[in-house]
Amino acid sequence: MHAGGFAPSGLFYKSSRIFEAGVRNNSVIGWLLAAPLSLVLVVFLVVPIAMIVVVSFWGATEWSIYPAFQFDNYAFLLTSDVTYRVFFNTLKYAAITWGFTLLIGFTVAYYLAFHIRSLTWQIALFLLCTIPFLTSNIIRMISWIPFLGRNGIANSTLISMGVIDEPVEWLLFSDFSVILAFVHLYTLFMVVPIFNTMMRIDKSLIEAAADAGATGWQTLWHVIVPLTKPGIMIGTIFVVALVMGDFITVRFMSGSQSANMGRLIQNDIALLQYPSASATAVILLATVLILIGTLLRFVDIRKEL
């Protein structure tokens, strides 16, 4: 009776040992495979962030920085209204760019996914949209000069059409040109994930909606948009992160007349004020991570890929 009582538990014990060994083995192989990746991320991501946090408490003279533990950098930032203005400017750029990239990106992805019928054409047109992303951002920014400049194509066209008498000054080096460049550079980050999600929508759902009497708009709004939400979320994460973290587009396209958080950091770096730059960087990073963290609650990225 005892023996009978023991046998199953002994068996259970043994199989759970095998199971544990399996898990441990999996983990060891997993760790070995992930080791190079982890190494890169620790050395070039985790440690640098830690360093920035540490240095944000340091002090600085005009030519050097020294270790300390003081809140001066934060106190200065949080009591200066420049910080708040620049902070809201950063959010403004992100919000407006997001709106435009979403509208354009959704329309383009919708066209490619539902109106192009052959797969070959879909791939060809999709590649056509993707290629500019693989060329230099700085060159793509420079290439707006002949369009938007005082004597540029836009002004001369408008003058010859009689719409305006004098060249418009705000086309280049303004908020307008900054946002135009953002939309130009980053719309692709909306097109790709939205297209990817749309391609996985079962086409029979759309037929079913049509059979049930839905109009084109109703199908779009009640079937396609809800099913595309994960793609929209991933696109949003890309666009928000890229615009919030940018400094080069704002500097180049506003002719140094507008600022965002990235520009504040870059200015401090140019003046060798690393502790102050680090404090701004910590605030920017916290904002971006909170925003992205919130967005990630609405989508499981790994499932959507």
């Binding site: 060159i139 420079i142 973290g245």
Partner: protein, 279 residues
């Protein structure tokens, strides 16, 4: 074939406008780089010439663009190879849950969304505080990997999500060792995607600016050199350089796409048709 709805034509027009928006400016500087010697940064063209391209090869005033091109090219290759190897290993690791895998996943996402200038600043600070000289092939190389690896891993996740594991099981049933399964079954199947990852690795590195800004040291990469030029060069030589480097990027993209295309063709020709008759 059923008739196209009216919306098709409206959307086609929208798509064409979008393409003009994407490519128009680049084509414009392409045309303007052939500006005559007396021409400026905008239309009208004052004659047509190769003057500004010649300037790129002769004038020392444009800085060390050929040196920086060489550095960017070598760095691009280094980043490309590392990105492919590390992301394949990472992709294989993530196929099974392992202790710490979710932390690593969130680090990848962080690496993707973190403002680039923070990487530049942080890596620059570490190098300067520990007395190491920043150099494009060490600190610059690592900083760029934090940008290329997340993209590569997202692609690898997508690839392995669609991977049919029964091929591996079949190989194991035939007695293949784990390494043989990867070498002779997994890698050949995912090869076209790896070409894509390599393309991303090279071009993202070749065009990378913000993460290299404070980490490349005294020898500039090409994007840094071009950015330096935007502040003090006001002649179409800037456009000539932009045109050349864009053409170079397009050639690289074309070469990679060609390889994928040839691979797929060979696969279609030599592949087995086993099982096709059943469907």
């Amino acid at each position: 074939m059923e008739q196209r709805p009216k919306s098709f034509y409206a959307l086609t027009a929208f798509f064409v406008l979008f393409l003009i928006f994407l490519y128009g400016p680049t084509l414009t500087i392409g045309i303007l780089s052939f500006q005559g010697p007396g021409g400026g940064l905008t239309f009208p063209m004052r004659g047509v010439s190769l003057h500004w391209f010649r300037d790129l090869f002769e004038q020392q005033a444009v800085g060390d663009i050929w040196g920086s091109f060489r550095r960017s090219f070598v760095l691009g290759l280094m980043v490309m190879v590392t990105t492919v190897v590390v992301s394949v290993m990472g992709g294989l690791a993530f196929r099974k849950r392992f202790t710490g895998s979710s932390i690593l996943f969130y680090l990848i996402i962080t690496s993707l969304v973190i403002p680039s200038i923070l990487i530049s600043l942080g890596v620059g600070l570490i190098w300067s505080q520990s007395g190491l000289p920043v150099h494009w092939s060490t600190s610059g190389f690592g900083a760029q990997l934090t940008w290329t690896l997340p993209f590569a891993l997202l692609i690898m996740f997508a690839v392995f999500n669609r991977f049919d594991r029964s091929y591996e099981e079949a190989a194991r049933d035939l007695g293949a060792s784990p390494w043989q399964v990867i070498r002779h079954v997994v890698l050949p199947i995912i090869a076209p995607s790896l070409i894509g990852v390599a393309l991303f690795g090279f071009t993202l590195s070749y065009d990378e600016f913000a993460r290299t800004l404070l980490t490349s040291g005294s020898y500039n990469t090409l994007p840094l050199e071009i950015f330096g030029m935007t502040t003090n060069v006001t002649t179409p030589v800037l456009f000539a350089l932009g045109t050349l480097t864009t053409i170079f990027s397009l050639l690289v993209i074309g070469a990679f796409l060609m390889v994928v295309w040839i691979m797929n063709r060979r696969r279609a020709r030599n592949g087995s048709d086993a099982g096709q008759g059943m469907v």
